[in-house]
């Protein structure tokens, strides 16, 4: 299959999601279940990455800013903007593409191969609406929240590392955080987070939903979905940056 065939099938899958739920209560239950799976399930890794990402940013920025003419509070500004603009939305979403993406692709792939999706179809359930839609909706709700958390923890990690390494005091760091702050940066990060969240959930769902073969193919499609998602995230990251900044 070529690129356009995949794109066409992907768009048709997305179109197929929009149908009236057979039972709204059960769909809500599935949505909440996915929120817990995608959101709560990824909190640990997001927290760890964010803290270290901020900490390393502070140390490396300080290492490069050797001029006595530049105020130490500039380190905090650089860390803040790097974390908000790039690290929290992009890096975290790349990691989430691996964590959540492979989970979604293998879950749906396993359901396809073991005929569970066929069983749902036979019951008269629109499987795209029941299986794919809650995953995308849950990702759109939880991933931006995790990106906000990553921003906070990243900056906090930087603040802690700066103080612990004796680079700059927490007061200087806090002062730097307040300087030249552009609220649009947060808006831009959230636009990126929503865009990436959609790709992180929908691309692996496509690869999992249409898997054919056995367990080997599930593994392959899971890996492929993560690779494709990462490429799409990086590409859309560039497009958004070029268009909005």
């Amino acid at each position: 299959m070529n690129f356009f065939t995949h794109l066409g099938k992907y768009l048709l899958m997305l179109k197929g999601m929009f149908s009236k739920p057979e039972n709204a209560k059960l769909y809500w239950k599935e949505f909440m279940h996915q929120c817990a799976d995608i959101g709560v399930g990824s909190l640990g890794i997001v927290s760890i990455i964010s803290l270290f990402m901020g900490a390393v940013s502070t140390v490396q920025t300080a290492y490069q800013l050797v001029s006595p003419l530049i105020s130490k509070s500039t380190i905090a500004q650089i860390v803040r903007d790097t974390v908000i603009l790039e690290f929290a939305p992009t890096l975290v979403c790349i990691v989430l593409a691996g964590v959540i993406g492979s989970k979604i692709a293998s879950e749906l792939g396993n359901m396809r191969v073991s005929e569970q999706i066929d069983a749902l179809e036979i019951m008269g359930i629109n499987t795209k609406t029941y299986l794919v839609m809650p995953k995308i909706a849950a990702a759109l709700v939880t991933i931006p929240l995790m990106v906000i958390l990553a921003m906070v923890l990243g900056i906090y990690g930087g603040r802690f590392a700066g103080s612990a390494a004796g680079i700059l005091s927490t007061d200087t760091f806090d002062k730097g955080l307040m300087e030249s702050f552009m609220p649009f940066n947060v808006t831009f990060a959230l636009i990126k987070a929503y865009t990436f969240a959609f790709f992180i959930s929908s691309i692996p769902a496509y690869f999992g939903y249409y898997v054919t073969g056995g367990s080997l193919e599930i593994g392959r499609s899971s890996t492929k979905s993560v690779v494709v998602t990462c490429i799409v995230i990086l590409l859309s990251d560039y497009i958004l940056a070029a268009a909005l900044l």
């Binding site: 057979e22 039972n23 005929e115 569970q116 069983a119 179809e121 036979i122 019951m123 008269g124 359930i125």
Partner: protein
């Protein structure tokens, strides 16, 4: 009753169904038999709408399934139960939740009523103590019975079984066959079974469709199959010497029965 006329289905250049027509009767176990690759599974998947036939008509009790729009099909599918080859139970749900799922999705009954129905069907398939177990914790035979319980929980008019005996020992196979037969008669269901199991053919074959290379080769019941002159069918059914001997024994018994 399910009637299909001149069904054709191809995948690329490969013709899988080549103008198959037949009638699946209500209250009877309708078997589709044939060698691997003869088109049995594709035929069954066309009948339930998982595959779209290229040509032909499928008629469920006078209603043309092939002409239906998706919403109409969804309504009809609520009257269809299906037992899959690998049972297709939902891994993350307990046996009880698997069976309750169609009730949760399509009925507005309260939980007590639903649980009563779940326990009724579990009792009907002789599985009373497995409610809280997960599919991974039960045997293949039990999975099939849970699959049957889930398929009949909404009182379907049509029951499809894809190789219900695959992977089961002969004794458990007989239990499953007996159960499917009993349910078919008890609830007057149109049951369509895809099978390779010759024991099933002999025991529960009310209406048998034998397929070769996507075409209807022979039809009849379990009695008629013994006396059939169709060479391909005989080679398929009575492949081993043991089965050929069994056929001769049955023929002799039948003749003696007529004389008596």
């Amino acid at each position: 009753m399910i009637e299909f006329k001149d069904l054709r289905k191809s995948f690329g250049d490969k013709v899988v169904l080549d103008g198959v027509s037949h009638v699946m009767e209500t209250g009877k176990t309708n078997l589709i038999i044939g060698t691997s690759g003869s088109g049995k599974t594709v035929l069954q998947k066309c009948l339930v709408g998982l595959f779209e036939p290229d040509e032909g008509e499928i008629i469920y009790d006078g209603v043309n399934f092939t002409d239906m729009v998706e919403d109409e099909r969804k309504l009809l599918r609520q009257q269809i139960g299906m037992l899959f080859q690998g049972s297709a139970l939902f891994d993350s749900m307990t046996v009880e939740d698997n069976i309750k799922f169609p009730l949760d999705m399509f009925t507005n009954d309260n939980n007590t009523t639903k649980m009563k129905r779940v326990n009724e069907v579990l009792e009907r398939v002789n599985l009373k103590d497995a409610n809280k177990k997960f599919p991974a914790e039960i045997s293949g035979g039990m999975k099939k019975r849970v699959g049957i319980a889930r398929a009949i929980v909404l009182n379907p008019k049509y029951l499809f079984c894809d190789e219900p005996n695959s992977g089961l020992d002969p004794k458990t196979s007989m239990v499953i066959d007996k159960l499917i037969k009993e349910l078919t008669v008890e609830f007057n269901i149109t049951t369509v079974i895809n099978t390779h199991d010759m024991n099933s053919v002999m025991e529960i074959g009310d209406n048998i469709l034998y397929m070769v290379d996507g075409k209807k080769e022979w039809t009849g019941n379990s009695q008629e199959i013994i006396f059939s002159d169709n060479q391909q069918l005989n080679e398929f059914i009575f492949a081993s010497e043991f089965l050929q001997d069994a056929k001769h024994m049955r023929m002799i018994e039948a003749k003696e029965g007529k004389k008596g």
